[in-house]
Amino acid sequence: MSPDPEQMTLPPDGKPDSEQPAWRHDFPVDWPQDHYVARRDFTKFMVLTSFAFVVGQVWIGAKNVLRRRAGLPPVRRITEIDSVAIGTALKFNYPNKDDACLLIRTGDADWVAYSQKCTHLSCAVVPEVSRGCLNCPCHEGAFDLRTGRATSGPPRRPLPRVVLQVRRNDIYATGLEVSPS
């Protein structure tokens, strides 16, 4: 095998190209070859990034399968009707113990409940019943109190809405409605 005619720098041991260790090909001395190897390795890294994106897509798919298997959220009693005054809110957890939600009493028989996680970056939203909105203090996002839709700031998706049911003197959470943007 003849030596590479484009190799400007000869190896110090003077042996042919095929007998050189692999690392000498990856760390060339002359600039044109070094530029070539650097850009080729960058391309390789980009292909690895491409693989990482595929892994991310598959991960989302797997999460979706698990979410479907989990089935409908449970029916859970939140509180007594009389324990929440008009214009105030009560924090509760639904459907899991780590999922913070807000039950807000807007009128005598008017209730709304939303997930407390902002749909932008999951900060806790703060209800402002007098202004008819829920505010996210992190990035000045705001959601409409009646519908849960994003009205200003960075959030695009509405807050997940907890489906409520009044039974006698108690109020129950019976489901979670998540809407696209």
Binding site: D17, Q33, T43, M46, F53, Q57, I60, T119
Partner: protein, 76 residues
Amino acid sequence: MNFPFTRDQRTTILYGILCIVLLIVVLQLWLLTATMNAYLGADDSIIWPATGVSVCCLGLNTGLLRYLYRIERSEP
């Protein structure tokens, strides 16, 4: 070793391939963010089609990289 392309030619090919790979990776990034947004909004209709497109993009990128290594090693 004899080369079908000179190093300058291979560098030009490499730049072309790198541009295509970068464009495809940006497309995959967009796909991932759009899929995540749809998933968080409970819209699961695009998850598997988007995954399929992303896998195709990975296949294209891998093919281009293999071609790059092949022209380095191939005989004329």
